[in-house]
């Protein structure tokens, strides 16, 4: 499946996604459906979410084996994930008490909204079976991964190392996400940014940050 090849709405179905893609996506849906099914055995009265989980698994198997044609993968997988999310929500609030007398319990509204979301997600996914749509764009790994690593690194370092080293290091990690990284320029920019943030947050806004590593 070549990226950028957009099937026109009136055109033929020549550009339906190749089998490899459906296998990967479909089996992911099936596995996640099974995981939800497994989870449903640990909560009380799981009839509705369990049925949805079984349907999801079947949907995934159908897509993986090619029985269900995925014409618009963005919609199909997007809708399937929303259904999974609502099933997870249904399972997560299965133990919460529902309506008592005239009063809503804590579980009533989440369950109500989960079921509506499941229906909408299913509608989106079904739309992905019956209408043509563009393929999912390829994910590039480098940039996104390094930015996320930098953010997670910030979270991990800020308590033990203090603000100054953490800011500097997080800047340096995330800058590797770009392919045009240059060392000297980056080190200077990281130092300047660290200085600027310390001035803004610690001195101007007077926030109680620990600046340097604590040795104790």
């Amino acid at each position: 499946m070549s990226a950028g090849e957009y099937p026109s709405p009136t055109g033929t179905r020549g550009s339906s996604p190749g089998p490899a893609h459906s296998v990967a996506g479909g089996s992911t849906v099936a596995v996640l459906g099974l995981a939800l099914l497994w989870y449903s055995f640990f909560v009380p009265s799981p009839m509705v979410p369990r049925v949805i989980a079984v349907l999801l698994t079947l949907l995934g198997v159908g897509a993986a084996t090619g029985r269900i044609p995925v014409r618009s993968p963005r919609d199909f997988y997007g809708g399937a994930v929303l259904v999974m999310l609502s099933t997870l929500a249904l399972l997560a609030c299965a133990e919460l008490p529902g309506q008592r007398g005239f009063a809503f319990g804590p579980g009533t509204a989440p369950r109500l909204f989960s079921i509506i979301l499941a229906a909408l997600g299913a509608a989106v996914a079904v739309g992905g079976v019956f209408t043509e749509g563009p393929p999912i764009e390829r994910y590039k790994i480098r940039g996104p991964a390094l930015v996320i690593i930098a953010i997670l690194g910030f979270a991990a370092m800020v308590r033990p190392l203090g603000l100054v080293p953490t800011t500097f290091l997080a800047f340096m990690i995330s800058i590797f996400g770009s392919t045009e990284m240059r060392w000297v320029e980056s080190l200077i920019a990281a130092a300047l940014m660290t200085l600027g943030c310390v001035l803004l947050f610690v001195y101007l806004l007077a926030l109680p940050f620990q600046l340097w590593p604590r040795f104790s």
Binding site: R74, D75, Y77, G78, G79, L82, L85, A92, C93, L96, Q99, G101, F102, A103, F104, G105, P106, A109, P110, F113, S114, L117, L120, A123, V124, G127, E137, Y139, K140, G143, P144, V147, I148, A150, I151, L152, F154, A155, A156, V158, L163, T167, A170, F171, M172, S174, I175, S178, E180, E185, S186, A189, A190, M193, T194, C197, L200, F201, L205, L207
Partner: protein, 512 residues
């Protein structure tokens, strides 16, 4: 009328007279300083390519949390129109719209810049925005009181229906699939229910994770979905060649002919923008497109458009500013955010302990009128500060993206961490960054999710109250007349949006 004037005077008083002896004996009107700071910072970040208005406000949200509530909201409002203003500067000079609302400004604005008339284009954009800002500020003040008094009559059932209508409006008028947008609203509603239940205190959907007991922080979601996701998304795109106008900008002042040509366009753009801005959804975006198309249609010589017609800059810029201003009306009077920026405002208000809604005007008049007055002052400041500073903003554009994005990443990290000093908040925002990235890949708009998240607690509370008052009878929403009308309008909108003919027209509007 006299009441209106006295209210505005009260607002001006809040802005100017709230002085603090900060530096020595000279009293400094702190709210003016906040307004100025907001406008400057907003312009600065708005000028930087690859960061839109929503991302700008999400990024700068944490630094306003330490301020007093009035000052914080004045500063946020300043950031908002500052960012809008910065967006139009890049449209004219670099042909990169800083935001969706200034996409059409590129068409004629950049052509003018190429003809060496960048100065007049920017000046007219600023003047148009200022004029539109003045008019719509008065409109906000005038409509504030009557709308609020209507909203105060609403019971929980009406309020719930009104929120449904507001959300549906926002979804129908925004771009993309309506079905997917409604699904996003519901996702946001569900996310807002994570954490302790308002009435019973029972932990909901927390999976026994202690960090989720208080719910998901609003700033974490906003920063992740709008800040990080946007950066990640930009990193994927190939480095674009920026077509910066190298020539020195000379002659800032427009000629007399420019002024005469654009005065009509500014007036029409203001009217159109003010009306469209009150509607929830992409008010400001639609307003700028509508104003441009309208000018083109009534022009004697439509072929000038696209080749540097000054009306093509004046009309959309006035319209988007007017709409940006009047989009505060539903927020301030009804407590319903009509778009993602206003949802961020709700988040900021909630963090300061202010419940947005009709009671703000009666309980905190200094906040309400102070904010309205600050809008006008902010617009004035933008004109005064920014025209001479155009050169500075242009030089900012030379900062390469490879240095820019790491700065934004660490800035956002520190910002989130500063709210509660919890590293887990930073982790949650990273997760939402990935989610936001995934959403974009699957053609889901993140803005409706944020709207749903912000309105979630209010909607649930009113739904529960309405049901309790009606003794569990769900038909209450249809038997109470106002509620029934509101729901009927919502249904009607959905049906109209689903009609094939309307769908095609809607697509055309957004593709253009």
């Amino acid at each position: 009328m006299s009441e209106l004037l006295s209210h505005l005077a009260q607002g001006m008083g809040v802005v100017f007279l709230h002085a603090v002896q900060w530096l020595g004996p000279v009293p400094i009107p702190m709210n003016v300083v906040f307004c100025l700071l907001g406008a400057l910072v907003g312009t600065l970040v708005g000028v930087l390519p690859g960061i839109g208005t929503v991302a700008t406000i999400a990024m700068l949200l944490p630094i306003t949390f330490g301020l007093p509530p009035v000052g914080a909201l004045i500063m946020l409002a300043g950031i908002y129109y500052g960012a809008q203003y910065g967006g139009s500067t890049t449209s004219v000079l670099v042909n990169i719209p800083g935001e969706a609302t200034s996409v059409v400004t590129c068409l004629d604005g950049h052509q003018m810049a190429r003809q060496g008339r960048a100065g007049p284009a920017l000046a007219i954009a600023a003047m148009g925005s200022f004029f539109a800002g003045c008019v719509s500020t008065v409109l906000v003040a005038a409509l504030g009181a009557p709308l609020t008094s209507i909203a105060l009559l609403f019971g929980p059932a009406e309020y719930f229906s009104l929120m449904v209508l507001g959300l549906i409006f926002a979804v129908v008028l925004a771009k993309g699939s309506v079905l997917k947008a409604v699904a996003m609203v519901l996702t946001g509603l569900l996310l807002s229910m994570v954490g302790s239940d308002l009435e019973t205190g029972a932990g909901r959907m927390t999976f026994d994770i202690a960090e989720l007991a208080d719910g998901i922080g609003f700033a974490n979601i906003a920063m992740g979905v709008f800040g990080y996701a946007e950066i990640i998304r930009n990193l994927e795109l190939p480095a674009e060649s920026r077509d910066i106008v190298k020539a020195k900008i000379t002659g800032l002042m427009p000629t007399r002919k420019d002024l005469i040509d654009s005065s009509g366009a500014i007036a029409r753009g203001t009217v159109l923008g003010s009306i469209l801005g009150i509607l929830p959804g992409g008010g400001a975006v639609i307003a700028s497109f509508a104003a441009y198309t309208f000018e083109k249609r009534i022009a004697k010589d439509p072929s000038r458009f696209g080749n540097g017609a000054i009306e093509g800059v004046a009309a959309p810029e006035s319209a988007n500013n007017a709409a940006a201003q009047t989009s505060f009306i539903p927020l301030l009077t009804l407590g319903i955010p009509p778009n993602a920026v206003m949802a961020l405002m709700v988040g900021a208000m909630t963090i300061h302990g202010i419940v947005p809604g009709p009671q703000v005007m009666t309980k905190q008049p200094e906040l309400f009128w102070g904010m309205i007055a600050s809008m006008w002052i902010g617009n004035l400041m933008l004109v005064i500060i920014n025209l001479p500073l155009v050169g500075v903003w242009v030089s900012l554009l030379r900062v390469p993206y490879r240095l820019l994005y790491p700065s934004i990443v660490v800035f956002c990290c520190i910002g989130i961490y500063s709210i509660n000093n919890y590293p887990t908040d930073v982790v949650i925002s990273a997760i939402f960054g990935v989610i936001g990235f995934w959403l974009v890949k699957h053609d889901f708009e993140p803005a409706p999710m944020l709207l749903g998240f912000v309105l979630g607690p209010l909607m649930e509370e009113n739904l529960r109250r309405a049901m309790l008052i009606a003794r569990g009878d769900a038909t209450v929403f249809l038997t109470r007349p106002i509620s029934a009308v509101l729901l009927a309008v919502a249904m009607g909108l959905l049906v109209i949006a689903a009609l094939p003919k309307m769908r095609r027209r809607r697509d055309e509007v957004f593709v253009e």
